[in-house]
Amino acid sequence: MSTMTVEVKAAVNNTLNAEVRQNPLSSAQITDYDHRQTVGKITVDHPKMTCRNVNVYYGEKHAIRQVSLDIGANEVIAFIGPSGCGKSTVLRCLNRMNDTIPICRVAGEIRLDQDDIYDKSIDVVQLRARVGMVFQKPNPFPKSIYENVAYGPRIHGMVDGKAEMDELVRASLERAGLLKEVENRLNEPGTSLSGGQQQRLCIARAIAVNPEVILMDEPCSALDPIATAKIEELIDELRENYTIVIVTHSMQQAARVSQRTAYFHLGDLIEIGETDQIFTNPKHKLTEDYITGRFG
C-alpha cells in the first residue's frame, strides 16, 4: 500500500512541470496524470461567488494554478484533496485571509455577487463581515461566551442597545444549537467549553454578523465523532440561510454534508461536480485514486 503511494506521488511529481494545459481532452478520454485541466462543470445557475483563473503565489512558489469555480447560493460545497493541495489556500482567498501573509500574492478574479473582492474599492473589513470564517482549531476569544458572540455585531455597530444585543446573541447561539447548553453560563469564558461546544461557539460568533457566506476550514478535525455529527447537522441547517464552503479531510464528511465537491491536487483543481457523482463515478483518475484511498 505504502509503496504504491510513493509510486503514484513520484509519477505525479515527474509530470508536474510538464506543460500540458494546451491539450484539453474530453473528460471521457482522461486516463493519465498529465492532464490538469479541470474536469466537470465549474459553473452553477445561481452563483454566490465566482472564481476565475485564480493563481496564488507564496513568494516564488506557485501554490494555486488557474483555479476557476462557482460557489452556488445556499449550497454546501466541499473542497477535498491531500494535504498541501491548496484547498485551504483557495478557501482563504475567498475572504482575503491570505492578505495577512506578507509573501502571499493572489492573481485572478474572485467575485462575491457582482463585487470583485480584490478590487481596491472593496474594504477587507466589509468583505469579512460578508464572508465569515470558522477555523480548524476552535479559537474562541479568551472572553465570556456572551462577549464572543457579541464581538462581531459590536465592532460593526450592528445593534443598538443592550436588549437588542442580548437578543442577537441568544438567537445566534440558538441557530448554532448551543443555546440550551450555555444558557445559564453566558458569562463564563468561552475557553471553558468542550472542543465541540467551542467550535459551535465559533460558528455562532460567525453567524452573529449575518454573513452571506461561511467558510469552514476543516471545522471538525479537532473534534470527536459525536461533536462532529452535531456540527454536520448544524451545517445542514445553516444551508437554508447561508452559502457554505467547507474544507475537509474526511471524504465521508464531504459526502454527508455537501451538494457539490471540488477535488484539488498539488495546486490544481482537478475535478468538480455533484457530490454524488464525484464519489460514485469520478471522471479523473487522480480523483478516483484519492477517493478510493490509494493515496492522500
Binding site: 475572504n95 485571509m97 495577512t100 506578507p102 473589513v125 466589509q126 468583505l127 469579512r128 463581515a129 465569515g132 470564517m133 477555523f135 482549531k137 479559537n139 474562541p140 476569544f141 479568551p142 464581538y151 462581531g152 465592532i155 460593526h156 469564558p189 475557553t191 465559533c202 460568533r205 460567525a206 454578523v209
Partner: protein
C-alpha cells in the same frame, strides 16, 4: 551456516555498550556535581552578602536618645514675656541644652571638658526643644525631662561599635565621655528607639540626622517620569514594530539597533542626557525630570524587546479569529492581542523599572549626585536617588554612616524584591488563559 551472512553483532553490542556505560554515567555524575557545587557556592555567597548587609545595617534602624532635665527658662526663651511666636522661634535653645547637660554633670568644669560634654547630644537637640515649646508654650518656666537625639559617636558607642579597651587617642570618644555615658546608662537616661529619622529626613552631614527620605522621593519622582514615558511609548513601539511595520531592511536595522541599545553601558545614556537635555534643552541639573528622561532612554529597549516577545507569544489563532470576524488590524490588536500580551509587557516593564531603580551611573552625569538636604517636592527640585545616596554615604568615614549605607541598601533591595515579586505574580496570575 551461510558464509555471506554478517556475524551476528548482538552480543558484541551488549559488551561494547556496557564497557562504555560506566564512563558515560561518570561524566553525567561529574556534570551534576559541578552544577550542584556552583549552585551551593552561589547560594553561600548570597547568604554571606545578606548576612553582611543585614548585620551591618540593622543597628541603623535603632537610634540612641538621651533624657535631659530641661528647665525652660523664660529669661532665655521669652525675655520680653509677650509669648510672641516669632520670639519663641528665634530664641537660643542651645543655651537650655547646655544648661541641662551641666545640670546632669555638675562636676564638669573648664571650656574643653564642657565642650566635650555638650557634644554628647546631637546638634539638632535645640530644634527639638524649640518644637516642644512651639507646640506647648505652657512649658515655659516649667522643668520637664525631654528625650533628645544623642550624637552619632554616643550612638555608635551604645551600640557596642566603639571598643572601650582601645587607647583613648585611637577612638572618637574620650575616657571621660565614656564615663558620662556609663553614668547616663546606669541612671536609665539613655535608651534606644526605632529610628524614624532614617525614613523622615533628607541627607545630613550629621549621621544621626541623616535619612533616606530625600533619596526615596527622588527615586519616586524619577521612576514616575520613567514609567509614564517608557510604558506607553514602549508598548506602542512594540505593537507597531511587531504588528504594523513592513518587514524590510529598514525595520531589520531598527530591530538590531534596539537590541544593541539594551546593551549600551548606562553611563553613555548619562552623557547623552547631559549633552541633550541639560546643555541643549537647558533643563535644570539634578532634577528628577532629567533623571527620568535619561532612565527612559535606558529602559525603553528593554520594554520594547519584552513587549515584542509578549506579542509574538499570542497564538495566531486569536488573530485569525479577530480578523475573520472583520476586525480591523488595530481592533484585532487592541481588543485581543494586547490584552493577552499585557501581562508579559507588564512583567518586562517592571523588570526594566527595577533596573532603572538600581541605576546610578547615568544619574551621576546629570548632577543627581549632589548633597541635597531638602526633600524634593516635584520634578524640578534638585534630588538624588537611592543608589546614589548609597554611593555618597559609602564614601563617608563615620561608623554611623557605614550602618546607614547598609540600611539604605536593605531598603533598596527590599524594593527590588517587591518589584520582581510583583512581576512574578503577574506572570503566574495571567499566564496563558487560552
Amino acid at each position: 551456516m551461510n558464509k555471506s551472512t554478517p556475524p551476528a553483532p548482538t552480543r558484541d553490542i551488549k559488551v561494547i555498550v556496557n564497557a562504555g556505560l560506566q564512563r558515560r554515567h561518570a561524566a553525567e555524575r561529574r556534570f551534576r556535581a559541578y552544577g550542584l557545587l556552583a549552585v551551593t557556592l552561589g547560594l553561600a555567597f548570597v547568604v554571606l552578602m545578606f548576612a553582611n548587609i543585614i548585620g551591618k545595617g540593622y543597628p541603623a534602624f535603632w537610634q540612641t536618645y538621651i533624657e535631659l532635665p530641661v528647665t525652660f527658662d523664660p529669661a532665655v526663651i521669652d525675655p520680653e514675656g509677650h509669648r510672641d511666636p516669632k520670639a519663641l522661634e528665634n530664641a537660643d535653645y542651645a543655651v537650655l541644652v547646655r544648661a541641662s547637660l551641666r545640670k546632669l554633670f555638675p562636676q564638669v568644669e573648664g571650656r574643653r571638658d564642657l565642650r566635650e560634654l555638650y557634644q554628647l547630644v546631637s546638634s539638632n537637640a535645640p530644634f527639638r526643644l524649640r518644637s516642644e515649646v512651639l507646640n506647648n508654650p505652657a512649658l515655659i518656666g516649667a522643668e520637664q525631662p525631654i528625650w533628645v537625639l544623642a550624637s552619632a559617636n554616643v550612638d555608635t558607642f551604645v551600640k557596642g561599635n566603639i571598643d572601650r579597651t582601645l587607647d583613648e587617642s585611637l577612638r572618637p570618644l574620650k575616657d571621660q565621655e565614656i564615663v558620662w555615658i556609663d553614668q547616663l546608662q546606669a541612671s536609665g537616661q539613655i535608651n534606644q528607639r526605632f529610628n524614624t529619622i532614617l525614613f523622615s529626613n533628607g541627607d545630613s552631614r550629621e549621621p544621626e540626622q541623616a535619612g533616606i527620605r530625600g533619596a526615596l522621593m527622588g527615586s519616586f519622582y524619577t521612576l514616575l517620569v520613567t514609567f509614564l514615558l517608557t510604558f506607553p511609548i514602549g508598548v506602542a513601539t512594540a505593537v507597531y514594530l511587531e504588528e504594523f511595520a513592513p518587514k524590510n531592511r529598514w525595520t531589520d536595522i531598527i530591530e538590531v539597533n534596539i537590541n544593541n541599545l539594551a546593551a549600551v553601558p548606562s553611563i553613555v545614556f548619562g552623557l547623552l542626557g547631559l549633552a541633550v537635555f541639560i546643555n541643549f534643552f537647558g533643563l535644570p541639573r539634578s532634577a528628577p525630570l532629567v533623571g527620568g528622561l535619561v532612565l527612559s532612554l535606558m529602559t525603553l529597549p528593554v520594554i520594547i524587546i519584552a513587549g515584542r516577545a509578549a506579542l509574538t507569544s499570542v497564538p495566531p489563532s486569536i488573530r485569525e479569529a479577530a480578523l475573520g470576524m472583520g476586525a480591523s488590524k488595530l481592533q484585532m490588536v487592541g481588543h485581543h492581542v494586547l490584552p493577552l500580551a499585557m501581562p508579559g509587557m507588564l512583567t518586562g516593564s517592571i523588570i526594566g523599572m527595577a533596573r532603572a531603580l538600581g541605576e546610578s551611573a547615568p544619574l551621576l552625569m546629570i548632577g543627581m549626585v549632589a548633597f541635597i538636604v531638602d526633600i524634593p517636592k516635584g520634578l524640578m527640585d534638585p534630588a538624588t536617588v537611592l543608589p546614589v545616596q548609597i554611593y555618597l554615604w559609602a564614601d563617608l568615614p563615620e561608623r554611623a554612616f557605614v550602618e546607614r549605607t547598609s540600611a539604605a541598601i536593605m531598603v533598596l533591595l527590599a524594593f527590588m524584591i517587591v518589584m520582581n515579586g510583583l512581576a512574578i505574580i503577574l506572570r503566574k496570575r495571567f499566564e496563558r488563559r487560552w
